[in-house]
Symmetry: C2
Subunit: 113 residues, 2 copies
DNA sequence: TGCATGTATCGACATTTGTCGATACATTGA
DNA sequence: TCAATGTATCGACAAATGTCGATACATGCA
């Protein structure tokens, strides 16, 4: 699976963009994070999950609000999870998604302390 | 010119991603900002410009460090400028680029105050 | 005026990305 | 065990993106 290989190390990901020249690997890694944020559907999914009661949302409850197919929503949620921005926990038939605030904060901090 | 139309309004751009459901237009606008950050070459250009003496860099001095063609660098610089992340000032034969810190900060703040 | 130099644009191309419908997988409940 | 339901994957496709070489544009200098 490409997914697990691509999963991002939250710790070592985020040098400061404006604090000196980025190496190519550093830039590559950082870009992966921002790529995950670079789509309106994913941003809305993030915001909906964060806003859900107890901070978790069933992916089936997200399809309606964003107005996309089940398959498309599933795809975007996988990308967000790959980027470390959310976790997906399987509970019976459902998948509960939760934002990973540390990861969001890490990307924020990369744009300046 | 597509460029001027697409140029982003720094003021009205950046609702908080995690502070409640984003509307589609809000998400669209935010995504434009992150899209500009979602490429390693552009991240490196940003970091190089920020690191340059007096915070400005001639675009001809950036081609070597990032290892890309003049045409490619020009293209990326235009995208960064469209996103409001840098300014380009034409000085004689050269173009001086400077980071727009407020714009970077605005995107950072969208990821949480 | 003509040439050298820095920048932007154009055309082309391969790759990536977002989207969908169809279908496979998994789990619960009857 | 079987059917219903939530999720993931597959295959396909159009659109967007990153890249390059070639070329046009602009500006300063000899």
């Amino acid at each position: 699976m490409k997914r697990s290989v691509a999963t991002i190390d939250v710790e070592a990901c985020c040098p400061q963009v404006l604090a000196g020249p980025l190496s190519e690997p550093e830039a590559e890694l950082l870009a992966l994070g921002f790529k995950a944020l670079a789509d309106p559907v994913r941003l809305r999914l993030l915001s909906l999950i964060a806003d859900a009661p107890e901070g978790t949302a069933c992916s089936c409850d997200l399809e309606g609000p964003v107005g996309k197919t089940q398959s498309t929503v599933s795809h975007h949620l996988s990308l967000l999870a790959d980027a470390g921005l959310i976790t997906k926990e399987k509970l019976g038939r459902w998948v509960n998604c939760a934002v990973v605030p540390e990861r969001v904060a890490a990307l924020r901090d990369a744009l300046g302390g």
